[in-house]
């Protein structure tokens, strides 16, 4: 009797160990993918941001209210900063989540830190987005010398 004439069924495998149940299957893979997609995007976004703000013109000395107002007068800098805010907070927040998983071993501490992290990430994204979208470059009653030059025409 040869092996070929009576194939025996392969031994059945045990069920894999159940997952912790907290995460949907594949969630960690999406986290991994997100880091690798957002990372290169953030390099372009942030290095451009640093170049424009710190290396052109008077560098750090040029940054004041009028400088920010002048930038946000252009829609593309609003989009640029919003993209930076979202991607950086999610990339950084996800990185911090992984560090908490690595170093916080007691369940209550892990829960507390994850909670605090979630509040910080969501709160910062909401605050930053509100600032970008509700920004008034020419606030009424402000010292005109602190405002961008285009406020004189209004």
């Amino acid at each position: 009797m040869t092996a070929a004439s009576s194939p025996r069924p392969a031994p059945s495998l045990k069920e894999p160990r159940a997952r912790s149940g907290r995460l949907r299957p594949g969630a960690e893979q999406w986290s991994w993918r997100f880091m690798r997609i957002s990372g290169p995007l953030l390099i372009v976004l942030i290095l451009t941001h640093l170049f424009i703000n710190l290396l052109t013109g008077d560098g750090v000395n040029q940054i004041d209210f009028a400088f920010v107002a002048g930038k946000w007068a252009a829609w593309y800098w609003q989009v640029w900063d919003l993209a930076m805010l979202l991607l950086a907070m999610l990339h950084g927040g996800n990185g911090m989540r992984l560090l908490i998983n690595d170093y916080a071993h007691t369940p209550w501490l892990r829960k507390l830190l994850h909670g605090a992290l979630g509040v910080a990430v969501v709160g910062t994204i909401v605050l930053g987005a509100l600032v970008i979208f509700t920004f008034d470059p020419c606030p009424a009653g402000a010292d005109p010398s602190l405002l961008p030059s285009f406020c004189e025409d209004i």
């Binding site: 290169p40 640093l50 750090v60 209210f65 805010l85 950086a88 602190l146």
Partner: protein
């Protein structure tokens, strides 16, 4: 191993700066005076140095991140990952030196 430590330390530093940076920028919604006063502290020598450290952290995290992606995606990069660590540090130095020249000139020279 050491690059793993560098990646974690720089990542945490950048994350906490980001929280502070969104808060200080939010002062543009309070008043031009409030924003200018707080952003003025970024122009002092001490903060100028902290800022240079922050830019260094961002560049290291960025280039080491690219190295990690390369090593994950290509066997060539995996085989040459030690040389790629050198590439990270060389690229870092090449960009950091002119940046320091100009930025510290702004901070200390008032130029």
């Amino acid at each position: 191993m050491w690059m793993w430590v560098v990646h974690r330390v720089t990542g945490v530093a950048i994350f906490f700066f980001l929280l502070v940076h969104v808060l200080d920028t939010s002062l543009v919604r309070v008043s031009p005076e409030a924003y200018n006063e707080v952003i003025g502290s970024y122009k002092t020598p001490i903060y100028g140095l902290v800022e240079a450290g922050l830019v260094a952290a961002i560049l290291l995290h960025a280039f080491n991140g690219l190295r990690i992606i390369a090593v994950d995606n290509s066997t060539w990069a995996l085989r040459h990952q030690r040389q790629l660590v050198w590439a990270v540090w060389i690229l870092f130095a090449v960009l950091m030196l002119p940046f320091l020249w100009r930025h510290l000139g702004h901070v200390f020279g008032g130029a």
